[in-house]
Symmetry: C2
Subunit: 627 residues, 2 copies
């Protein structure tokens, strides 16, 4: 065996080495693996498949390995020349000093999926959690054929299944019963006891609703009596370092229980941190959080519970379990009241998960007289269509392009991102924070494509019309340039106005990525229309759900055929419907039970197994309406 090599990672801010790792010199490990083994979180949005740029690093010292095909595609000749590489593609073959590079372009994330407040006026406040303040007498000489528990249960206004009382609630019962002259507060959920506390704690009856998204996690702490929101917390899903989209996340943990445990720990720790943070914000104790509702897509749901997702990632993408799982907080464990009930909403099928069920609950599409649709645009898009008589749903794997991943200058909707584009004579961009642009986010991408179509820079097929550039006015003509690899691109922001030191452009490849993403979602809409025999004119409303929907220009979305050609007033934005649905199920058992009934009622349409789906998809990819 040769001696191990030393890989030194340099802190982007201080430019000093922060971590040194000894590595076997056999070239078996990539820089990304070495970094992750050392606890350095280098993002790998595509799941280490060389399909995005998030894990870009610069080799400051040491031998630079020859670029792979993925390096060439993602980074281009200039960056390769400047010693940039994709950490996921670069094997360690000699001692080196490495600078993780992606944070340079993505400072200060803004969370798209900010919590949407629930209109609590519209739902019944029947959370199932009740607090009963009673005064009980410990067993006496005269009343000796009884127990502490029975004395308490006998004072409750309604019978409970005392044999279901958690052991943990019994262990300290003797002291609790005798601490405050027999005054105790008994917390029940439905017909069983969750907690017995000394004295009167009836003022503290809390619950938390979680929406665990692939990209972000959002939580709201609610008072279960009043329905008031006491605090909300939102942040990135820390699992993202193991893959930005669902399939990458699954690929990471597939057939590897240890990696599944790693993913799960990320989610559990984040959820526990959120509980702590929300309770600290509201000045309350997590000890009094008795009900927790969790929604998320099938992958997030299974990983959160520690259920193997290997086959969730393989056709037909079957979930391991679909029913509404309810587990005690101690079993996960979550740091709430020890026997708090953790309620996951049910799954419909495949990737039509608990988050979609929550969206259906929130939008009340199930009660509509007319045909409606809801569309949740994300790395995985879901479409639900129907009315009070029939509901159908499908899942469309859009990929992360609409979140700015796998786009040359793509980025999330953060400071410096182009979010709106106009072309009137020349290109004008609105940039988040009014700073020089450093990249483009999803809504900007949709806008840009729509305007480029209008300006005939782009053909309906998606091809950039560099062949016709001479017929364009000078400002646009000058923007039609070539990449270092000689491929067509369109300059949105010239180098001298960019905040990045180089022009912000859209390449032909970027447009293709956009077409695949929007084509997936639109093909879902088209397929459901076909299966249900519904036309555009019959759709009374199309509701956009999810954080992303908030930011897109619906006219542009219709222009590029991400959405069907409806009158714009029929396209509405609902907000974070999944999170609203989670809050509804938290505050109301009626709503939670309705979610169970809905999950059984919604019919799942598996796109890939639909006859002629390929034809539909090919049509949906196009920007041009079919003849």
């Amino acid at each position: 065996m040769s001696r191990p090599l030393t890989v030194s990672f340099v802190d982007p801010e201080s430019r000093r080495p922060t971590r040194e790792v000894e590595v076997a010199p056999d070239g078996s490990l990539t820089l990304l693996q070495v970094a992750q083994s050392a606890g350095l979180e280098i993002m790998a949005t595509c799941g280490a498949r060389g399909r995005c740029r998030t894990c870009r690093v610069k080799i400051l010292q040491g031998e630079v390995p020859p670029p792979t095909m993925q390096d060439r595609v993602q980074l281009g000749a200039d960056e390769i020349q400047e010693r940039f590489r994709l950490a996921c593609q670069t094997r360690v073959i000699g001692p080196c000093s490495v600078l993780p590079a992606p944070p340079l372009t993505e400072g200060g994330h803004q969370i798209l999926a900010a919590p949407t407040r629930l209109d609590k006026g519209t739902i019944a406040l029947d959370s199932g959690v009740e607090k009963h303040v009673i005064v009980a007498t410990p067993p006496t000489e005269e009343n000796h054929q009884t127990s502490d528990l029975e004395e308490i249960v006998s004072r409750l206004p309604r019978p409970v299944a005392d044999e279901n009382t958690p052991l943990g609630a019994l262990r300290d019962l003797p002291q609790t019963l005798r601490a405050k002259g027999g005054q105790v507060t008994v917390t029940t959920f439905l017909n069983r006891i969750l907690d017995i506390e000394a004295g009167d704690t009836s003022a503290h009856k809390l619950g938390i609703a979680f929406d665990i998204g692939t990209t972000t996690i959002v939580a709201s702490l609610l008072d279960l009596d009043s329905g008031e929101e006491l605090a909300s917390v939102a942040n990135m899903n820390p699992q993202a370092v193991y893959g930005g989209d669902l399939m990458s996340r699954i690929a990471y943990a597939q057939f590897d229980a240890k990696k599944l445990a790693t993913l799960r720990a990320k989610a559990l720790n984040a959820v526990n941190d959120f509980i702590e943070e929300a309770c600290a914000k509201a000045g309350v104790s997590a000890r009094h959080v008795y009900k927790i509702v969790v929604v998320g897509n099938t992958c997030m749901h299974h990983v959160f519970l520690g259920i193997d997702v290997s086959y969730v990632g393989l056709a037909p993408y079957a979930p391991v379990v679909r029913h509404a799982v309810v587990v005690p907080a101690t079993e996960l464990p979550l740091k709430a009241a020890p026997h708090a009930v953790v309620c996951l909403l049910p799954i419909v099928a495949g990737f039509v998960g608990a988050d979609t069920v929550a969206c259906v609950l929130a939008t009340r599409i199930y009660a509509s007289e007319e045909q409606r649709a809801l569309v949740d645009i994300g790395t995985n898009g879901e479409v639900v269509m129907g009315n009070k008589d029939r509901l159908m749903a499908c899942s469309a794997p859009a990929g992360p392009a609409l979140e700015g991943a796998q786009i040359r200058h793509g980025m999330r909707g953060a400071l410096g991102a182009i979010e709106k584009v106009r072309i009137e004579g020349d290109v004008e961009c609105d940039v988040i924070g009014n700073v020089p642009a450093i990249g483009i986010c999803g809504s900007g991408l949709i806008d840009a494509a729509a305007r480029m179509l209008d300006a005939q820079v782009l053909a309906g097929s998606g091809a950039m019309r560099h062949d016709l550039k001479d017929s364009l006015a000078a400002p646009l003509r000058d923007r039609m340039t070539k990449t270092a690899e000689g491929r067509n691109q369109f300059v949105l922001v010239h180098q001298e106005e960019s905040g990045k030191g180089e022009a912000v452009t859209l390449t032909q490849n970027d447009i293709r990525q956009l077409q695949l993403a929007k084509g997936a979602i639109y093909s879902g809409i088209l397929t459901l229309q076909k299966v249900m025999g519904t036309s555009d004119s019959e759709l009374a409303e199309l509701m956009l759900c999810g954080g992303f929907g908030n930011y897109i220009n619906t006219a542009s979305a219709v222009r590029i055929r991400l959405l069907p050609p409806l009158p714009l007033d029929r396209i509405t934005y609902f907000g974070n419907a999944a999170h609203v649905g989670a809050q509804m199920a938290l505050l109301s058992e009626t709503e939670r039970m309705r979610a169970n009934e809905l999950a059984r009622r919604i019919e799942h349409v598996a796109l890939a197994s639909q006859p002629n789906y390929q034809d539909v998809f090919v049509d949906a990819i196009s920007f041009a309406m079919p003849a």
Copy 2:
């Protein structure tokens, strides 16, 4: 602060120091506390109250503290002179070297409570645990609105509540379902899933029944299909080092959660060791133990579950919970199948615990046409009386005298113990193992008292008739001697025939201890007879349950009024009925459900709160029939 002192403990066999402990020189700790803090298990049968001799030590070097009153009473002048002390009474005031002494007289415990085999012919084999071998097909493209779990559940012969499937059984389900061509074995308990395994494991369906007694723990590993016993294990309850009788055990853990946890850990570890040992003996895997039934008195029951016993030790001795607790093995945790059901039988009231319910189940007294009684003689005695129409029960705190504790030369039924006594001219003793006697066990004590009464060495009041010794034949007269403290005693084995280097005697105090113990039990029988209005002549049978009952001479027991004056053929020995009842509940849900019904039906009589109980007790203490 002065410098700490060093206490050195010497190994009785090698006579070399085994443990050195630094102790504050403030006299705040006893030698027993110091030994226990160092992990040395010195027995303290009376709960460190100076009421027995089990914690006897010899101070080999260093200053010997002046003897306490308890030292004088328990050890006598000679041993005090020889530097013996009770570890529980002796405070550390200077550096010393200490020899734990009790093992010298009690080598090789024989377990009284050997398992009693169940007559399995008489009960239904309906354990509730079933194994279903099925072949399931993972979800397919055509059958996509389903889940792995649903595919399995759909193949079961009867519906199950799949929402109650333990999370742990779901986590590996995808691989399990696909490992052996879809062949899986689903283990259910009643209507829920406990386990899903790949392949056919239907041959392995095991259960264990535990009787956790104050003194001993007994376990039987059974095949749930055939009812066959595959292995049995019995051993001392390792909690005994923290107190031999119930009240001492409770006193140790009272108002001290940490000490309760210590007691609990002792029991849990022992139970887990028993499972491992039984499975090893039988050559099977604990992975296939799906049902565990546990019986024990109220204190053992609560401690096993980690429930505070503080108030179980205070009048009116109320249990915290009485219903039949069922918990998953993971929650305790026990090392069986992860989701094995651990079923505790219910409690009637006070100290009429799950063990008594098991005895009622086993003896079938509940179905008797005639009046019957069952008596479980132990440190706490229980009496149940009645027939198919009515059952009453009480608990009598006999204390550990009948197990040889708190008796000057008392010991358990082990090698060297006098177990039978005859007086025909002179005293003749049968000694366990036919070796020179070193002490006397409970059955010997009862025999001795009965024969001493016959020989008029003892008066009906319990007084030794040293005043009348001159009227006795020489051999007996010579046995009526004085203790070093000048109190009356009766020599059973002269010093020269003893294996102990000193005479084995019964002191007047020993007789008083016996009277209190037998009086407690007999007063329970008398009280139930009084409350039920039943006379001796109406009692068709009195069944002795428990390990101790096996060894006593029933004629002697009647003679000393431990038992009522029934014709001897009406006094029967049932064996370890609690353990038999546990096995019945293990093999049959019919029997386990019956136990629940019995616990509700049995009427508890609290002796202390009965009118005139003191009169009954005073009568019961006497050896002489009332006029």
